[in-house]
Symmetry: C2
Subunit: 332 residues, 2 copies
């Protein structure tokens, strides 16, 4: 591979001149520039970005950390991040952790050692305190999934309130016996949605049957497992509030396999409003979150941080909205 020296030699100029041509191009004679450019072409030269980044102390790359790309939800969030990043000439790289702390630490290492200028965390397996300790001084924003023990700017919806509203929606449709399919304590969003669920049920004077509160996770498989367990208990609730659309889809599919039809026999509500929820049969009643905007705003904050400012506000709660579809019907 050719280096800048080779180019300089071939063009008969100094490396500084080559660099000037490569970058702003100020104060270079047209004739000189021509020579340099033709040398670049002849040698098929591309500057080694490691050298450049090392010197400039910036890479103009940002990392998006998430546990899996198999949930469509993230894809629009990432799109928002990317479009905002592109406007400032940043590139986005996605790192998947698969819920493996070791893999995640690996990515943290890249951040600590300046391989990326900053990161947006969509999920994390690590403890907030550990993240805080490891990443102090490094520009990081959390989006969707927020750990308060990791003090960074963040953007998210109000998960608890959204869950309250979703639960109330089910109650207003006449459902009394309502189950909750969550993802356990690990994820704040799930915890808060469960909180909202419990709060609203209590507020409505409705009992919560704990065997209908199941924590299998966000994915399709989680929905299937939760529904299986639900079927094991003799009686079914009127409705189930699921922590995600993927979970809801899994649940509906599993129930259908046993002849329990949604929404005829039981109503199921999702969360997120991913594409699947529109397309699924029955289409899934859910809570929309502004995925693209979450991503875009998070990236805006990150750019501020990278620029050395503290973004204000440094926490942003965006709107959500219930989307009525087919999977929830009035209790008759």
């Amino acid at each position: 591979m050719a280096t800048i020296k080779d180019v300089a030699k071939l063009a008969g100029v100094s490396v500084a001149t080559v660099s000037r041509v490569l970058n702003q191009g100020e104060n270079v004679q047209p004739e000189t520039e021509r020579k340099v450019r033709s040398a670049i072409k002849a040698l098929r030269y591309s500057p080694n970005l490691l050298g450049r980044n090392l010197r400039r102390r910036e890479t103009r790359k940002i990392l998006v950390l998430l546990n899996t790309i198999s949930n469509q939800f993230y894809s629009r969030v990432v799109r928002g991040i990317e479009e905002c990043a592109a406007e400032q000439e940043y590139s986005v790289m996605i790192g998947m952790t698969h819920g493996d702390p070791k893999l995640e630490r690996n990515f943290l290492e890249m951040l600590k050692t300046k391989l990326m200028d900053g990161a947006v965390f969509l999920t994390s397996e690590l403890d907030g305190a550990e993240l805080a300790a490891q990443l102090q001084g490094i520009p990081v924003v959390q989006a969707c999934e927020v750990q308060s023990t990791f003090p960074t700017p963040w953007v998210s919806i109000d998960n608890r309130r959204a869950a309250c509203e979703a639960t109330r929606y089910l109650v207003e449709k006449g459902h009394r016996q309502i189950g909750f399919f969550g993802a356990g304590d690990t994820y704040g969003s799930s915890r808060q949605r469960e909180e909202g669920f419990r709060l609203t049920m209590e507020g409505a004077g409705l009992p919560i049957r704990e065997e209908w509160v199941l924590d299998e996770g966000f994915g399709v498989g989680a929905g299937i497992r939760a529904a299986e367990r639900l079927l094991e208990f003799g009686s079914l609730p009127d409705a189930v509030f699921c922590v995600s659309d993927t979970c809801a889809a899994g649940a509906i599919r599993c129930l259908a396999g046993e002849g329990v039809l949604v929404p005829r026999d039981i109503s199921v509500m999702g969360f997120d409003n991913i594409r699947l929820s529109e397309v699924f049969l029955p289409s899934i009643t859910t809570t929309w979150q502004p995925q693209y905007e979450i991503g875009y705003k998070a990236m805006e904050m990150l750019l501020r941080l990278i620029g050395g400012e503290e973004p204000s506000p440094n926490r942003l709660v965006l709107e959500h909205r219930i989307i009525e579809r087919e999977s929830v019907s009035p209790k008759n």
Copy 2:
């Protein structure tokens, strides 16, 4: 941020010694090592990987290029890539192009300039010749989607044969009038599947009605649009062969919206066997491809390339298999 010099100074040793402690640790007195380690901890030092990578001329990172993560199909392929990479201490970064050549060129730049040791291309928007010109000498493997004008090792299934078998399956179920929902000429996989479709139809002496051959793309939206157009012609085929499961799901949903039920009124066959195809209602009859293995094998090849060897074989055709589910029923 502390540098190796700071550590060396604090520990009262030279930078070489610090580096030795950091790396293999050969020939360092236990006492010296202790001092160095405590200095590292005191300064919260992490080596700057830009410096290291520059010197070592390797980054141990590989790039996976794809156009979107919203199609689940890729997620298992990527998993295969990652697991193979992890065994050799490589990290995987995902770059999304969104079908935008400009974004893709951006990632090519990273490859050309040594920011990554190599890449697996799952899709590309660019012309094979341009890729070949830009990336000569850079370790690249293509997987799933292969451009023959870009001469790299690759791994894929035999798309044409798979499509032949899928079409024959439909024919054997008694379907005569069969449509094809493809993704146009841009993607080789779609082209080859269409080829297989046409070949088999001709072989069976069945006419192809060109208004039932629609090229809207791989995604859910594509399936919906294609189905809409199908509905615009008065008559429906007996069955439709879709280029992907997501496309099939979109089509089924759209048809259902107009009261056309799958498989009662029309059969729909997908391709890929992503999770969605099991979960969807009706579940989607499809052609399985070994997603994980494709990724794993592609990464094995890439590692060979990075090691300076030519992988042999340097093209790998893996098995596929029809999976029978609910969306195709015998024509009565």
